[in-house]
Amino acid sequence: YLLLGRWRKKHLTFRILNLPSTLPTHTARAAVHQAFQYWSNVAPLTFREVQAGRADIRLSFHGRKSLYCSKNFDGPGRVLAHADIPELGSVHFDEDELWTEGTYRGVNLRIIAAHELGHALGLGHSRYTQALMAPVYAGYRPYFKLHPDDVAGIQALYGKKSPEIEGEEEEEAELPTVPPVPTQPSPMPDPCSGDLDAMMLGPHGKTYAFKGDYVWTVTESGLGPLFRVSALWEGLPGNLDAAVYSPRTQQIYFFKGDKVWCYMNFRMNRGYPKKLNRVGPSLDAALYWPLNQKVFLFKGSGYWQWDELAPTDFSRYPKPIKGLFTGVPDQPSAAMSWRDGRVDFFKGKHYWRLNRQLQVEKGYPRDIAQNWMHCRSQTSDHTPASGDTPASATGTTVDTISSPMDTTLNTDHFPTDAITD
């Protein structure tokens, strides 16, 4: 078995948003309920259905295209369903399949639902072809039961089922232990100076610039106020080496020295910071490349390519940056990618934009201050075009940024194991 993550609680809610037209409602609902029960029979998990509002696990059927899912289905056959890893909770079924129960015809909803719930609970695919978590559907089995590998996998995540589970209290969400952050911040940086520690295209498409102890957002119309890094991401030090957000896992990784910090939105995952062992310390930059869904880490003249969800063989890395990113300087100070696959590298006061073929476009390098930070001129006027930095930002407190802190629960898995151990 492969573990992809885990929920930080064992009592989960679920909601069935719609059902297939090929089965009577009560039959389909019973199949889904039975799918949950396979897992709750062997692990200390409980599942409670809710009819409205937010649920931890949400099951729905959609067709070739969906407004709410970026992964299209492909009609009857081939791909039957997919699910997100913890703690995201989406479970989607292809509505074009012939969903059935109690017959060898079509696709058995109960078994496929149990498989996808396995993903939603944190299991990856098993290499045992007879396991429920095998990637290929093995067909209807009247006397279906979990394979020992499925049981071992779920128990590795949540432990074995014990008789006391019924009276057990819901565990509290444990707050992460965070190291103290220096109370005396470095001087507030001037965004028009051009130098940056890190850049990141973060959650919700927001672009963050990091310098010293401060971070600010960058938009087409101007700059946001400067905040202390630790005011937005509690427990995170300033003077970062690199920062990268992965839309694939919704994790944000910050690098400094020989440590990595991992956050979901603005909450640090339990167990972090962790030590970087498999890639070099003191990285220069990091980026997520959407075209292959990998994280790239840069140091000196080399890079590592890291797959967050699969074992990565780092023995072939680092590789030379110039062999892949044509025209980019060594030791970039920051890097980030766009959703369309273009990439920007930053170094000193300049940046280089690469096309989808990862070649520097004509006309680059350009000036960071003028083209990113809305500064009128690099030499004569260092005032941001969108206005001066508000004085209130100088004494930023957590209160002033309370709204972005109100986000989802942090995860309890260790996505960085590949680079930390």
Partner: protein
């Protein structure tokens, strides 16, 4: 070398499910040895005879209904 429709379909499958990674450096084409290794990994993970060739059993296996998530298998994990 140009791939036939069956080979292209197989390469697309291997790419989609994580057995084959698009080469980042140099050519856009896959090296035959990379495709063979990916096929071997797929065959081994599918409990098929490991030949590294796109044989009938491998094609049939690739057409079977399955989950949309990637597979984590490579030579290292199988070892």
């Amino acid at each position: 070398p140009a791939l036939g429709p069956a080979e292209k379909e197989a390469v697309d499958y291997l790419l989609q499910y994580g057995y084959l990674e698009k080469p980042l450096e140099g050519s856009d084409f896959f090296r035959p040895e990379d495709i063979m290794e990916a096929l071997s990994t797929f065959q081994e993970a599918s409990e098929l005879p490991v030949s590294g060739q796109l044989d009938g059993a491998t094609r049939v296996r690739m057409r079977q209904p399955r989950c949309g998530l990637e597979d984590p298998f490579n030579q290292k994990t199988l070892k």
